[in-house]
């Protein structure tokens, strides 16, 4: 729909570490047996990404295939193809026990990027963000400040954050404040 907007409507802050709303992002929450071949096959066909290992996000261009739990995956696709993706999954897995839900509008997608982006996350999340522990492709469901969030590392200085739509302002402002406060000098 042409009148759809993301919660943050493209907000961005500049600085040594930038915080940027990624706008509308297609997301499918898929509950099912992640070891099932038919399931991983259709997920790959929808996202182009290979099945992720536990605690990882497998990325292919603008799409991704993330491991949320042993029986839950998060598929990232362009916003305008979510309904097609859902239809493919529902067709391919027809007769199997699974649940695919469109959660694109339920969430916000924010990118934190810059020299000390990992420290910006580590200020507000209890995850071990040290580069020796948190590699490119690693994906965690944790919290940022006082709310639930998930994030993965797409390159050494870039992290993608997903949070609920209702708290998008809070998460954005929290990350922006942490970025503004400067580096800690721990991970670098």
């Amino acid at each position: 729909m042409s009148n759809a907007i993301s919660a943050l409507e493209g907000r961005a802050v500049a600085g040594d570490v930038t915080v940027t709303d990624m706008g509308l992002q297609g997301m499918i929450s898929l509950r099912g047996d992640l070891s099932d071949k038919a399931l991983t096959k259709v997920c790959k066909s929808v996202t182009g990404a290979d099945a992720p290992k536990p605690l990882q996000m497998s990325v292919a261009g603008a799409s991704g295939f993330g491991w949320m739990s042993p029986d839950e995956a998060l598929l990232l696709v362009p916003y305008n193809v979510v309904r097609d993706g859902l239809a493919s999954i529902n067709n391919a897995l027809s007769g199997q026990h699974f649940l695919a839900s469109n959660v694109s509008d339920a969430r916000a997608h924010i990118v934190v990027s810059g020299a000390y982006a990992d420290e910006v996350i580590a200020k507000v999340s209890p995850v071990d963000m040290h580069p020796d522990s948190f590699a490119i492709g690693d994906f965690r469901r944790s919290h940022l400040g006082q709310v639930a969030a998930a994030f993965w590392k797409s390159d050494a200085n870039t992290f993608h954050v997903i949070c609920f739509r209702s708290v998008a302002d809070y998460v954005f402002d929290l990350l922006a404040a942490s970025a503004k406060a400067g580096p800690v000098g721990y991970t670098s």
């Binding site: 729909m1 042409s2 009148n3 759809a4 907007i5 993301s6 919660a7 509308l24 929450s29 509950r31 099912g32 029986d71 026990h97 699974f98 649940l99 839900s101 469109n102 959660v103 694109s104 509008d105 339920a106 969430r107 420290e119 580590a122 200020k123 507000v124 999340s125 209890p126 995850v127 071990d128 963000m129 040290h130 020796d132 522990s133 400040g145 006082q146 709310v147 609920f164 739509r165 209702s166 708290v167 302002d169 809070y170 402002d173 929290l174 404040a177 942490s178 406060a181 400067g182 800690v184 721990y186």
Partner: protein, 1001 residues
């Protein structure tokens, strides 16, 4: 007088002068000074008044144990009280003021208390102010509060910012002295990820001052070399000005880093929240004072602090220093002073003999050493002028008076066992060294029962350089191995020590001191507790050390007894004729020294104080007069205020307009949980009290959820989506908890049932379109058929309305014709705007939660949280119709069969109408005509919901009443605080459209 020496100090940079002020006086110091050293360099010996007696007090120490030099610091938005001068690094523009004096530091009226001190013994407040009882609250306490207290409370907001930082390490080393450096070295060489923190601004601890030999070089050279080696290792993080504040379960450690002062943009403090596999506490030791009369006068300092000021800051406390000790270490102070060209008239050693190398060196330097002697009394007013000398063995008969302006005292060293003890590490009493030290066999344990804290160096009771280094290095190696690091650590450092003669414990000087002397022998400087107070407490039966502490306030000040604890409990043990280990210590609790409130808060202030959940239409609400109320973490409009309306007016307008024409409600916050799978029907039949498996596709059913104990916990409309899929609406507050509740049962109890649930609450913006014109406005948007035949009451359909793909539920919580329309959240605002446009001709009005509540109450619908409070079962609400009799079981069914739940005497839901049409007070109780055994009136019911109904133009209410439904028409009397009871009649709870005709058109 105290002054800056020509020799300067190793930590100060005399090329960088810094100006600061103390009590309005402009003073100068140097970069690297602490506030304490800068004050002393300016001859500011008197820095505060004591808490109880307002005695003049000076700086006692050079570290975090300082009890006296607490300052009001900064001003305005940068003001903070109780800042320790000894741990505050000097910065340009620093403003400090002494505390607890009136009218001035030099002349304090409260000092009269000191003369009255014999009338203010231990427990004085408890004894004096207990009668008459009411006086405490209204007379005594307010007055005492005014005269007591240290710093001022800050006014207004803190102008600085703060932050947290999470770090995960293999080994955290607390303390950057030579023990901590050795530990970090071993752990880092083994390959462990190491975090090393030091509370001061310099590495090396005591060794940097005392300069023992390490690996054949001076200690400072070894420290520089080791710091350089550590700094070059990628797996090591080192932080100065960063205090290990507390050790908690599972290797969680808080460290407090002081970054910037003076209102910069960058964070002032950073709180490190560390997870460490192993913790090494290389926290050093604190020197104990000696208890002699007048030991609190300005100019009496700990012996090691006196030489710290000389060596580190080039500051002398006085020209003539008498050293008084019971151990060899204090001789180092005498030697340092002598070397600095200052005079040491005598070393007063309480021990019978002193013939070790240090004593010999002192004698060789021409210093007079008096053994078997003690100080009878320190002479002076606001600073020391002389000491009188007596035999340590006697009662204090003066044999000599020595003029001096400084007394350097040492009663031995107490390992800093705080961090070891925080999480349960145990202590042993080492009688030979007169100290409590960690019992390495009883460390704090992790989830596997293994120790995760290792004490090292002096903090572990090793007083000699050789042992400190060996122990520190071994601790690092052990910790690294336990953390899984396997690298080779190489050779550890080796130290060299001069031989020392043993300490002789001295808990009172002289040991038979008269009452007069004991009454001026201070144990706790900050809280004014003397030897005589502890003895009195023991005499009055406060035998437990914890009781004595609270009775006397020993160790209860902001320094938490860092100087006073061991001396105090030694005095107590003597008074009780018990051994020190049998008396035990008080509990060591974090933080080690006070940390700022800002650091604890971190980023969570102002708009980040608490997350506020916003629906897609939030901005519209905010721009259109919404008076928000918190519902969970959401902010929902309570009502939309127009012009000069009161909130009450707005609510009534919204209700009337909705009932007459058209209202809109932002219902996006309601929980929406998809439940799907072959066993989903069976699962929902367990979750809900009514039958959900039989619900046909396309239809909706209202359902109740109970806890296992039978109490009503949530309600909502369930829609059958397809053969295997249901969508469950929950209350706003219940969305997350009901989702978790479902997962709990599926994961822990019915793990073999094939059911998946997905919380899609925030995927949809949901708008209730309510009122007689609801259908017209949807038809105006165009698209799907929303007629009564195509979309009957309690059914749902997918379709389009205008440009929007929607799911429409024909459900009504208001009693009117009502559609709840769900659209993707990204289009929520656009859909809302479209409805407002289309509804303009019907004078559409959004309504808030209060109008929602009133309309549901007019219809007699219950509200979770109003009619329920965790003790109410569906039967209390006459909802037997929602309890399926066809099902073998549902959560809560068994519990509802228990005798008390099935008791006909339970209070049950009814409607209530006041006789005079007024509104009953919320929560009012119905008064029964009987009195209980305490002479109070019994109650027989209470109001659960009460409103003014603009539709009926009178007050309406619901309530739970004893046998209520059987008493229709009876009149009850309800409590009315500050007025006469209000009479109300029991009526049917449905006040409006009992037949339900309006919603089903």
């Amino acid at each position: 007088m105290s002054t800056r020496l020509a020799s300067k100090g190793r930590l100060v940079d005399t090329s960088k002068a810094i100006s600061f002020s103390f009590n309005g006086k402009n003073l100068r110091g140097y970069a690297g000074d602490t506030l304490a050293s800068a004050l002393l360099a300016n001859d500011q010996m008197l820095v505060g008044r004591s808490f109880k007696y307002h005695r003049p007090r000076g700086i006692v120490s050079a570290g975090p144990e300082e009890p006296n030099a607490l300052m009001n610091m900064g001003e305005g938005a940068f003001f903070e009280p109780n800042q320790r001068a000894t741990t505050t690094l000097l910065f340009d523009g620093l403003k400090a003021e002494s505390q607890n004096h009136w009218p001035s530091l030099e002349f304090d009226v409260g000092a009269i208390n000191s003369k009255l001190s014999r009338f203010l013994p231990a427990g004085f407040y408890y004894k004096m102010f207990i009668y008459p009882r009411p006086f405490w609250k209204h007379v005594y306490e307010p007055i005492i509060r005014k005269s007591a207290g240290l710093g001022k409370a800050p006014i207004g907001r803190d102008g600085d910012t703060y932050e947290h930082f999470h770090a995960h390490v293999d080994v955290m080393v607390v303390g950057g002295g030579i023990a901590g450096l050795s530990s970090a070295l071993a752990a880092a060489r083994a390959g462990a990820r190491v975090l090393l923190t030091e509370q001061t601004a310099a590495w090396g601890g005591r060794a940097a001052v005392d300069e023992p030999q390490i690996d054949g070089m001076k200690a400072t050279a070894w420290i520089d070399q080791t710091v350089a080696e550590l700094a070059a290792m990628k797996n090591v993080t080192m932080r100065l000005n960063c205090m290990g504040a507390g050790v908690y379960d599972h290797g969680y450690i808080l460290a407090y880093e002081q970054l910037n002062e003076g209102g910069t943009d960058a964070p002032r403090h950073r709180l490190w929240r560390v997870r460490a596999k192993q913790v090494i506490t290389a926290t050093g030791a604190i020197e104990r004072p000696l208890s002699f009369s007048g030991n609190d006068l300005p100019g009496v300092l700990l012996a090691a602090a006196v030489r710290d000021y000389v060596v580190n800051f080039g500051v002398s406390i006085g020209d003539r220093t008498v050293v008084v000790t019971n151990n060899d270490d204090a001789y180092r102070t005498a030697l340092v002073l002598k070397k600095a060209g200052l005079s040491v008239p005598a070393i007063i050693d309480a021990r019978p003999d002193a013939d070790g190398p240090l004593a010999k060196a002192a004698r060789d330097a021409g210093i007079r050493v008096e053994t078997g002697k003690g100080i009878a009394e320190v002479k002076g007013g606001k600073r020391v002028t002389a000491v009188t000398i007596c035999g340590q063995a006697g009662e204090g008969a003066v044999v000599e008076t020595i003029e001096c302006d400084c007394v350097a005292m040492s009663g031995g060293w107490s390992p800093v066992v705080h961090l070891w003890s925080h999480c349960g590490g145990k202590l042993n009493w080492d009688a030979d060294q007169a100290m409590f030290r960690p019992d390495e066999q009883r460390p704090p344990t992790d989830g596997n029962g293994s120790g995760f804290v290792i004490p090292a160096g002096i903090a572990n009771g090793h007083l000699f350089t050789t042992d400190v280094l060996t122990n520190g290095f071994a601790a690092g190696q052990t910790a690294a191995t336990a953390a899984g690091a396997k690298g080779k650590v190489g050779k550890g450092p080796e130290g060299y020590d001069e031989a020392q003669e043993p300490i002789v414990p001295v808990w009172l000087m002289p040991q038979g001191a008269s009452h007069e002397l004991r009454s001026k022998a201070w144990l706790d400087f900050q809280n004014d507790v003397k030897v005589s107070d502890v003895q009195l407490a023991a005499q009055e039966g406060f035998e437990s050390v914890e009781h004595t502490k609270r009775y006397t306030t020993l160790g209860m000040a902001t320094d938490q007894g860092k100087l006073s604890n061991i001396n105090g409990l030694a005095v107590l043990s003597k008074a009780l004729n018990a051994d020190i280990p049998d008396v035990g210590t008080t509990t060591f609790r974090p933080p080690y020294t006070p940390i700022s409130m800002g650091a604890i808060t971190g980023a969570a202030r102002d708009e980040l104080f608490q997350p506020i959940r916003k629906t897609p239409m939030y901005d519209w609400h905010a721009e259109n007069g919404a008076d928000f109320e918190p519902v969970g973490q959401w902010r929902r409009p309570y009502a939309y205020i127009r012009g000069d309306e009161t909130v009450h007016d707005a609510v009534n307008r919204e209700v009337t307009q909705t009932r007459d024409s058209l209202g809109l409600l932002d219902a996006s916050t309601l929980g929406k949980i998809v439940v799907s799978g072959p066993d989903a029907g069976q699962f929902l039949d367990m979750m809900y009290t009514n039958l959900m498996s039989s619900l046909p596709v396309g239809k909706c059913r209202y359902g109740l959820m109970c806890t296992e104990n039978g109490f009503l916990m949530d309600d909502g409309v369930v829609a059958r989506i397809d053969d295997q899929t249901w969508l469950c609406h929950t209350t706003t507050g219940g969305a997350d908890s009901i989702h978790a509740w479902m997962e709990d049962w599926l994961q822990c109890e019915w793990w073999d049932w094939k059911v998946y649930v997905s919380n899609v609450t925030e995927q949809f913006a949901q708008v209730a379109v309510v009122g007689p014109n609801a259908r017209k406005v949807l038809e105006k948007l165009g698209g799907m058929d929303v007629s009564k035949d195509a979309l009957p009451f309690m059914q749902w359909r997918d379709g389009t309305l205008g440009d929007f793909k929607v799911r429409v539920y024909r459900i009504s919580f208001s009693g009117e014709l009502s559609y709840e329309v769900a659209v993707d959240a990204g289009q929520g605002r656009a859909f809302w705007d479209a409805l407002l446009d289309a509804g303009a001709e019907f004078d559409v009005m959004p309504y808030g939660t209060e109008a929602l509540h009133i309309m549901r109450a007019e219809k007699g619908f219950i509200m979770i949280g109003d009619e329920t409070d965790g003790t109410v079962i569906p039967q209390d609400l006459n909802m037997q119709w929602a309890l399926s009799k066809k099902k073998a079981d549902y959560l809560g069914k068994r519990a509802q069969e228990r005798s008390h739940m099935a008791d006909p005497n339970r209070w049950k839901l009814v409607g209530l109408e006041t006789l005079d049409g007024s509104v009953l007070p919320d929560g009012a109780y119905a008064i029964a005509d009987s009195i209980n055994e305490n002479g109070q009136e019994n109650t027989e019911g209470r109001v659960t919901s009460t409103y003014y109904s603009p539709t009926l133009k009178r007050g309406i209410a619901m309530g739970l009443v004893h046998k209520g439904p059987d008493r229709m028409g009876d009149t009850l009397r309800f409590t009315n605080i500050g007025g006469e009871p209000i009479e109300a009649k029991i009526v049917d709870q449905v006040f409006y459209d009992k037949a339900g005709e309006k919603q089903d058109v």
